[in-house]
Amino acid sequence: MVDDGNEAGTEVAELAAAVRRLVDLMLRVEENDPSLIDVISELDAMSAELESAQGAVDPFENARAGKWFFPRHDPVSGVENALAPPIEMEFDEDGAARASATFGLPYQGPKGFVHGGISAMVLDHVLSVADVSPDQPLVTAELSFRYESPLPLFERAEVTAHRVSVDGRKVRVAGDIRVNDRIAVSAEGLFIAKRLDPMSATTTEGASR
């Protein structure tokens, strides 16, 4: 079992959850709602206050802040990222990854259904953390997706991924997204285990997490 470092309920995560509500609301509010003018100035004031407490943009800051492998900031499971659904991750005893999420309006593709690219994004994420240990991060080399049935919005989707085979540093992982036990999208991935290297947590090696 892996400590994912996500102690839910911190203040920054609560703030991100509140902002996540606004992401959804922007897709529902009346386009010219006059109250939005005050909302804009309040949000900008908060942004300015948070930004003034930060230094210059440092793309590596989250990596330096702690374990990047199960970050709180990623766009899929990150509780501090208001753009993430976020999916909730768990790991079985055998290391298989399980996640669930309910996708709302921001993730819509065809009318009433989850965007195919969002399904791919979520599967990429869950496949890449299946069967990993923090001292052996995997780098995505290749992913393939098959779209088998539409994935409806507003219904609980279950995502699973498990390791299929290991051949040297090549690791094959398979997984799928289902709603009510029906497969919507299935995926297979080829990952390369990074060489064990004390600097590995702070390098930029790898094209995916």
């Binding site: 509140a18 902002v19 010219n32 208001a82 009318k111 259904f113 195919g116 997490r209």
Partner: protein, 218 residues
């Protein structure tokens, strides 16, 4: 099951042509940019003495907006422009969707589509790099757009993605895509995310057109 009208709107809307004269932004569009900015400020915050107060205030603002807004299920029915206009709600191209770093794909003379993107920490996977899943999301849309541009809008049947080198954040990236061929209702396209002309991520997609969708073209 999937309405072809919404599909065409989705796939054609990202190709709004030359947007050198952007349309005027509505209060909701401007508010969405404010939400994007706040989301980035929050994700970059490790801790802040006023974070809990801000969360409470944002929840009050959200409650007020929610009390006047249609439910998500109701909104699904009304958010699609029957004229097939630019989908402001797309998670890749939509200016009203804070999830999107709005992508504008333009026609290029040789038949494909092309756009520019620059991602920040909200879309980070490995340290300093674009999340591989976000790359997949963008490439899916680029593939669909290339097929739509060729006259064959469709839904994704399968997609294969190769990650060739890390895609950095805070750099200008190019997204390029083109239709390959068609066999009945099956249409294929390729798409790439490039940095300074070098391919970072490459995708190939097999799409299926709706039976009645072929004639309507783009």
């Amino acid at each position: 099951m999937i309405e072809i009208s919404s599909l065409i709107a989705l796939n054609s809307g990202v190709m709004a042509g030359d947007r050198s004269h952007p349309t005027e932004m509505s209060p909701a569009d401007i508010a969405t940019n404010a939400v994007r900015r706040l989301a980035e400020a929050v994700v970059r915050t490790a801790s802040h003495p006023r974070a809990a107060d801000m969360a409470e205030r944002v929840n009050i603002l959200a409650d007020e907006l929610d009390s006047r807004a249609p439910s998500p299920a109701e909104r699904v029915e009304t958010m699609w422009d029957p004229a097939g206009g630019v989908p402001k709600h797309s998670p890749v191209a939509g200016i009203r969707n804070a999830v999107a770093q709005p992508l504008v794909l333009r026609y290029v003379p040789d038949g494909g589509v092309e756009g520019r993107l620059n991602f920040g920490v909200l879309h980070q996977g490995p340290p300093g790099c674009l999340h591989g899943g976000v790359a997949a999301l963008v490439l899916d849309v680029a593939l669909a757009s290339a097929n739509a541009r060729a006259g064959f809008p469709g839904v994704t049947a399968s997609m294969k993605i190769r990650y060739l080198q890390p895609t950095p954040l805070y750099r200008e990236l190019t997204v390029v895509a083109a239709h390959i061929d068609r066999d009945g209702r099956k249409v294929r396209a390729w798409a790439e995310i490039r940095l300074d002309g070098e391919v970072c991520v490459r995708a190939e997609g097999l799409f299926v057109t709706a039976r009645e969708g072929i004639a309507s073209g783009r």
